[in-house]
Amino acid sequence: MKGSILAMNKTGIVYVAFFALTVAVSLSSCRDKRSTGLEYARNMYDPIAYNPDQPNKNFANGQTAQTPPPNTDPVGFVKYEYANTKEGYEAAGKNLVNPLPLTEQNLLQGKHYFTVFCAPCHGDKGDGKGHLVQIEKFTGVPAYHGDAASSRGGMMKDLTAGKIYHTIMYGLNNMGSHASQLSPKERWEVVMYVQKLQKIQ
């Protein structure tokens, strides 16, 4: 009789231990990655001043980052005078010259920005065969050199600095504007490098 009770208790103990283990394992394995987990003093994480990318009830459109009011310019902002039209393009091509001196340092900078912002489509050598074109996700990118023609007339290798700058500002058809990603100085550095690529035979 005694033996039998002991046997029963042993299995009971095994059950309970097993149960505890299962619960522990299942609880520890399913930490929810969709929540931040336990937090102490959440308000320490929420800024009192507004971050630029935060919602903001004080403005009509609910955003913190606002465009400047009409007819105002941020300090140091240089306005781009040429309109996004055929005439603007031709005028920019005639009047604008690169304000930066042609130096090794500027070319190196230009090369870096070109590699990051233009090469995915235009290719490292400006041959219109960037990575996105090679994997067939993006098509119709002209080369800067050889006998490629610009869709606005003339040869790609003859584009002037002003026309290239104008293209970075406004984009063209399937190419978007890159003005929000590059400052004016950086744009001119890129233009300098593109003009070097135009000379490739």
Binding site: N9, A20, L132
Partner: protein, 430 residues
């Protein structure tokens, strides 16, 4: 469990390979022509034509079957000349788009044009195998979870059965020894468990288990309070870094240019997405329709993909959920780490030259389908790196300026806080 799911996956895969292969063999020769045609088409025609929808030129799969091959050979070879020759059908065709005319391709041979037409007929090669493979993989993960539960259930059953068997055996032995057996009263489950708690050994064991489990949970809980490692919220658009930074090899700076100039790395605004997604619509993988995820970008901008126009009044910004977030009282500046400290951090974390410095803190972002927090972002984490990293002052514009300023201080020349960066907005504001 792993093995079973692996085997199932393999069986699936080979089944798909087999069907794909048999289809390929049947359409073998045609496929070869079509493949060549596809290459020429992508190179020369996609800027104006798509297979199944009108662009600058008409949708080719609709127009080509209605024309004779002889006509098409002439048209594609030199459309302007063909129209100028006064051919009635050609003049009729040129009315499709009065604002544009088709480029002449005199360099294309009749064979090449035929291969283009073959491709137009066959259409884009289907990627059945790949898609089905992904679905199987998803099933498998669900499958293995069910497997774990099954294993647990089975082991409980086995334990119960074993317990019964032991009892039976004990009874048999006792019977053999001639001991009289009093038939046990049937105890209810509740009473049975109640009885268990009268046993001292059991109670001790139970409490021990409880203390260990609760203790370890409490300990872990306290360590992880306010530490968001692994946090991966659901984002409003299924934007994949694996696809963009990995497969497409777009540099982090293309989208997070702020990281190199300011405190904030910044999330790109949607016009940056539109640089590519005006054209890239992932129609291949959505039966010729715009991907619903990319449509969300269009909706947020009020962009009409058919008319290619923006409607400002329909704009509705995307609300990305922030992943990395230090408490507001800690100041972390990206440009200080990404630009000034790049060499030091690369050396400290042993990054390869082709990996962006961001990986030191954000982990292998180019393999993340959905972004998650890789590092703990605790103060200990900051401090440990600051104690270990070795600053390299050579060829570092930041230090060249600092050393210059210090030289001036040494010589007793006039120096203002402005020379030490005291005019940078970020030194006072954040």
């Amino acid at each position: 469990m792993r093995n079973i799911s692996l085997i199932i996956r393999r069986v699936w895969k080979s089944a798909f390979m087999f069907t794909a292969l048999s289809v390929l063999i049947v359409s073998g020769t045609q496929a070869q022509d079509a493949a060549e045609g596809r290459k020429i088409f992508k190179e020369k025609c996609t800027s104006c034509h798509s297979l199944d929808r009108d662009m600058t030129g008409p949708a080719l799969q609709k127009i080509v079957p209605t024309k004779s091959e002889a006509f098409l050979l002439k048209w594609i070879n030199n459309a302007p000349a063909f129209i100028a020759s006064g051919d009635k059908e050609a003049v009729e065709a040129s009315k499709f788009n009065p604002n544009a005319e088709m480029t002449a391709f005199p360099s294309l041979t009749p064979e090449q044009i035929k291969s283009i037409l073959a491709y137009v007929k066959v259409g884009e090669p289907k990627k059945e195998g790949e898609k089905a493979g992904a679905a199987v993989q998803e099933e498998v993960s669900g499958f293995s979870l069910a497997g774990v539960v099954a294993v647990i259930l089975i082991s409980i059953v086995v334990l119960v059965v074993l317990g019964r068997a032991i009892k039976m055996l004990e009874r048999l032995i006792l019977q053999k020894q001639g001991v009289e057996i009093v038939e046990e009263e049937k105890v209810s489950l509740v009473a049975g468990i109640g009885g268990l708690f009268k046993n001292k050994k059991f109670v001790f064991f139970f409490i021990l288990c409880l203390v260990i489990t609760l203790g370890s949970f409490g300990w872990m809980g306290m360590w992880e309070t306010g530490v968001h490692t692994g946090y991966q919220p659901v984002q409003p658009i299924k934007f994949s870094h694996e696809l963009h930074a990995g497969t497409n090899q777009i540099d982090c700076q293309y989208c997070h240019s702020g990281a190199f100039k300011s405190k904030n790395a910044s999330i790109p605004s949607l016009n940056v997405c539109m640089n590519c997604h005006k054209q890239v619509q992932a129609r291949d993988s959505h039966d010729g329709n715009i991907s619903p995820e990319i449509q969300k970008i269009y909706n947020a901008l009020g962009y009409d993909a058919d008319k290619m126009t923006y409607d400002k009044s329909k704009e509705k910004p995307v609300e990305w959920v922030r992943v990395h977030n230090l408490p507001d009282f800690a100041y972390f500046n990206h440009s200080q780490h990404v630009v000034v400290a790049e060499k030091a951090i690369r050396k400290e974390k042993g990054l390869k030259p082709n990996e962006p410095v961001c990986f030191a803190c954000h982990g292998p972002v180019n393999t993340m389908e959905e972004i998650y927090q890789y590092s703990p972002l605790t103060m200990k984490w900051c401090i440990n790196c600051h104690k270990a990293a070795e600053i390299n002052g050579k060829d570092n514009a930041f230090y060249t300026k600092i050393i210059e300023a210090h030289e001036k201080i040494k010589k007793g020349e006039k120096i203002t806080p402005a020379a030490l960066g005291g005019l940078e907005c970020g030194k006072c504001h954040y």
